[in-house]
Structures are given as C-alpha cells and as structure tokens.
C-alpha cells in the first residue's frame, strides 16, 4: 500500500514539473564543454587565467574602458547582481577582457573596474593575444575612428562559467541584475 502511495506521489510530482531542474534565464550550452583557457595580464597584478577561479562561478565579459554605453551598463548590472548574492558573493567572480589593447593597460582596467566593484578582475595583453581570446569565444570586434579616439563595436553578451570551469551559458545584453543573480545561484548549486 505504502509503495503504491509513494509511486502515486512521484507520478504527481513529475506531472507537476516539481522534479524538473529550474531553467536558466541565459542561453544554455548542451552538453557543456570546458571554457577555453587563456593567459593575459591581470588588472590585479597577477596573470589572468580562468583556472585561477575554479570553484567559483565566473561571469566573463568583453569590452573596453572608453566604452560609453554598453560596458558601463553591463558592469553596473554585474555589480548589482553580486550585491544581491549577499553571503554567496565571494563565490562569484567577474572577469572582463578588454578589446582595446592600446588604451587598456592593467592599471587603466583596475581603475575602471574598481569604479563598479573592487573584486572585478580585468585582462589585457597584446592585440594578437586578445584576438586569440576573442576567436575562442566568438567575440566580434569592429574598430571605428572618431574625433574622440577609437570606438569599438563589440559583442555584448556575458558568458557564465560554472565552478568546474565549464562554459554553461551566455546572457545576452539587456538582462537585469536579478536574472544574473538567479542564474549564478543555480550554477552555484550544481
């Protein structure tokens, strides 16, 4: 009798979707593969690799410190998401790779990222090194000249990497901090 009741309960929970894994707000890669590794100069004075952050959930963004529109919004959103994580914030790392090697040296990135959150780490290097990272992640970068210096049109999505270093998801530009916090919490539990 108890067995019948247990089976009925499982069937009920299954039909109600209660045993389904909650979905991420971001786009999901299936099956997940290891996030492509790279080695750049870190804004914190330590070489920047993804391996450094194994055990944490990483948000990997691309941009440049002279970006006037997309990057400030993305970084402010990520900083807000980190605050929403509360006690779990220490297990969340934002990594920001520049697309502008001429102006974004490690010191410039440190100042720029520090304005959003002191824990954010930036990566820079030679044009060739950054181009390699861009290609690994399918990042599109288009340089345009303006009276105020170079402008870059660049991919604005943010990659989410789990604690095991696997590339799990990609959040398109425009998502709010709550969506990031939601997905980071889910990835932390896995």
């Amino acid at each position: 009798m108890n067995r019948v009741l247990a089976l009925l309960l499982v069937a009920l929970l299954s039909s109600a979707g209660a045993v389904e894994a909650p979905a991420l707000k971001a786009g999901v890669f299936s099956p997940p593969h290891p996030a492509p590794e790279f080695r750049l100069a870190g804004s914190d004075g330590t070489p920047l690799t993804l391996a450094r952050f194994h055990g944490k959930v990483v948000a990997l963004a691309f941009g440049y410190s002279h970006c006037a529109d997309v990057c400030p919004v993305t970084l402010a959103t990520l900083a807000q998401a980190r605050r929403q994580l509360g006690a779990q914030a220490g297990d969340f790392q934002v990594v920001y790779v520049t697309v502008d090697p001429e102006r974004d040296n490690a010191a410039q990135l440190k100042t720029w990222l520090g304005a959003f959150d002191a824990s954010f780490v930036g990566g820079t290097g030679s044009a060739q090194a950054l181009d390699t990272v861009d290609r690994l992640y399918g990042i599109s970068v288009k340089r345009m000249e303006s009276a105020n210096g170079a402008l870059f049109g660049h991919s604005s999505s943010v990659y989410l990497i789990d604690r095991a270093g696997r590339l799990r998801a990609m959040m398109p530009y425009g998502h709010v901090a709550e969506d990031y916090a939601h997905d980071v919490r889910l990835l932390m539990q896995q």
Binding site: K25, G27, P31, K142, H154, S155, S156, S157
Partner: protein, 147 residues
C-alpha cells in the same frame, strides 16, 4: 426551401463557432523551440569556397509560442553560429522573455550583425486570429512544399 434555409443557418453558426475559437482559444504548440542546424560537412563546403548561409539575417519569434532560439552544430568542428561559438555536437538554447528587437554581433553574417525580433504573445481577438491565419497559411505552404 426550409431545409436549405436551415442548412445555411447551421453553416453560419459553424463558421461563427470556428471564428470564435480562432479568436479566443489559447495557442498550444508542440514545442516553443525555433531550431536552426549546421549540417555535417558545412565547414568543408565553406573551405571549398561555397557560400553557406544557415541563419537568416533576421529571425522572428513570438512570445509564448516560439520564443526559444535553438542552434545546433552537427558539424565536426567548432563554428561561430549566431551570437556564439558552438562546439561539434553541441546545442545552444536561448529563451526570450521580453518582446523586443535583439541585435547580436555575428561574424557569420557579412553585415556582422544578426537580429532576433521577438513579437508579443498574440492577444485574444484580432491579434490571435491574424496569428492563426498566418500560421495556417505557413503550414499549408510547407505541406505543399513537402508534397
């Protein structure tokens, strides 16, 4: 004469019932995925100089109906597909929750840009009727193509 009049009345009532259903009934679909696939051998064909276009410049989705972009790489090499790199045998499933126009940088397109237009869920009434009419037209076009 009376039989003909009764038949006409029944026909009109039936048409009104169908119209009411098409205007008000909720939309049910088997899947909300809008799939696109890179077939096996695509990279080899590109290397041979063939122009292979898989993703259109603009993809149109509808909230609550087809609002999940599903990209699959069935080829043997990693490929830039839409907004990201997808590994061989891997899929990328991107859900949309807000009606808007989304622009993605995409090196696979000559313009460097791919757009996803997400339309709102068809509201009961004229919007839903128009959506169903378009859907039926699309389905009958596909069935003709397949035949």
């Amino acid at each position: 004469m009376r039989v003909a009049r009764r038949s006409a009345a029944v026909l009109v009532l039936a048409l009104l019932a169908v119209l009411a259903w098409a205007t008000l009934a909720p939309i049910h679909v088997a899947t909300r995925d809008e799939p696109f696939e890179i077939p096996k051998g695509t990279w080899a064909r590109r290397m041979a100089g063939n122009k292979v276009e898989i993703l259109p410049q603009t993809i149109r989705l509808t909230l609550g109906v087809h609002d999940v972009l599903l990209l699959r790489n069935l080829d043997d090499v990693p490929q830039v597909f839409g907004p990201t790199v997808i590994m061989p045998g891997q899929s990328f499933r991107l859900p949309f929750e807000v009606a808007s126009i989304y622009g993605f940088a995409c090196t696979a397109h000559a313009s460097g840009q791919m757009n996803v237009v997400v339309d709102p869920h068809p509201a009961p009434g004229w919007e839903r009727l128009r959506w169903r009419a378009g859907h039926w037209q699309e389905e009958s076009w596909w069935s003709k193509e397949e035949a």
